[in-house]
Symmetry: C2
Subunit: 245 residues, 2 copies
């Protein structure tokens, strides 16, 4: 198993296992025992147990008392979950397309009253505004506007770094890690501008997420406004009703 | 603490605690110790510990090593979460309105090919189709179409029972419990019919959830198609990036 620094072993094992399940268990089936999985992944049994707990919480596997652990085809088939972390290129690839970034435009602006309120700034404080358009096999699929306070930036950077996922920039240039994201889900009708950005007709329905990223010390870092072309990128959510521990 | 049968103590304690936090800690603040909470709620310390684990997973509280457990105002303020269980009347009340059911219409129909495929039926199998409109302080807010196979129904029922939440009907008349719900999130533009159901103008954006309810034995039970009037009912999602255990 490849080891990423900063990412707990159990999370990495869960990711590996999730990908295997998607490949080999897409129609369901019973998983091998923890020992077998541990030796296949080259990790400890304790790590496997934690990884299985993560996947159970995600609904990807089901444990049935006395009979074992099963892949859940009803959840495994979903490729974009609104309640799980993702990067835009991953989303596009998971939907079966080739991902690319089309346009990136960076502006230095003054925070509007609304932005200031959402990020805990004063109106007029300087912010970096990054516009990106993501392509799915050549079609415009996602239009993103990310805004972050200039004051967060701790070191010199090249403009090209802003084309990378914002998580990397926050980590490397702002020494900040994102702990969680609160996303407001808003249905929209494309106006002329949005229609052009996404290569669709005005009047088409669009899904908009208005997101605030919070740091590990619970401070707002970024406001992201994201428009997804429907049905090219379509989200799912999972609600578990009876799970407790 | 009031005791509901079938609902684990920790889940009930989490609900009580969540409501208290929403009332008393909406701007944040440090929680009292487990012992204090336990005696306030009249439950064991073990139950409090489990309840806190549930609330931590929901993002409602944050644990900071060495300093204690804190209410998270960024999450506490959210009243409709796409990743958490809800009933429509609860959603409406949480948004600050008075909830009522306006219309209920029940039809006996034959499953379409699409419905049959989604619920694991044969095309033409008999289904119950329940249309409901929910009001938020008198305004039409949610339009729901629930479809379930007639074959699920195990005992006689009065038509009026279908006005209650479908969970109750599934429990009492079908002896089925919902384990989880997979929800597809679709932005829509209201056509003439939808606009009339929701009391809005055609062309307005609408959020649609297309949902399959799965039983504790992982069988599909119900297809629900739900239209939410925006911005009257607006959903949020929480994505946690660094949480593991």
């Amino acid at each position: 198993m490849r080891i990423k620094p900063n990412v707990p072993m159990a999370v990495q094992a869960a990711e590996l296992l999730r990908n295997r399940l998607r490949r080999d268990y897409v129609n369901g089936g019973r998983l091998p025992g923890e020992n077998v999985i541990a030796s296949e992944l080259g990790v400890s049994r304790g790590t496997v147990r934690q990884a299985l707990a993560i996947l159970e919480r995600e609904g990807v596997i089901l444990r049935q008392q006395g009979t074992g652990t099963f892949a859940n085809p009803n959840v495994l088939g979903i490729n974009a979950r609104v309640d799980m972390a993702y990067e835009f290129t991953q989303l596009i690839e998971a939907a079966g397309f080739e991902a690319a970034i089309d346009t990136v435009e960076v502006r230095r602006e003054a925070a509007s009253a609304d932005l200031a309120q959402r990020l805990g700034l004063a109106t007029g404080d300087p912010v970096l505004t990054i516009h990106k358009i993501f392509l799915a096999s050549g079609q415009r699929a996602i239009y993103v506007v990310e805004q972050l306070p200039t004051a967060l930036v701790q070191s010199e950077y090249a403009e090209s770094e802003l084309t990378h996922p914002i998580f990397d920039f926050l980590d490397q240039r702002c020494h900040q890690r994102v702990d969680y994201i609160v996303s407001e889900i808003v249905p929209c009708v494309a106006d002329q501008g949005l229609a052009e950005y996404l290569g669709i007709e005005p009047g088409q329905p669009i899904l908009k997420f208005s997101e605030v990223f919070y740091s590990t010390s619970n401070a707002p870092l970024v406001l992201a406004t994201v428009y997804f072309r429907d049905p090219l990128i379509r989200f799912h959510a999972l609600r578990q009703l009876t799970t407790v521990t």
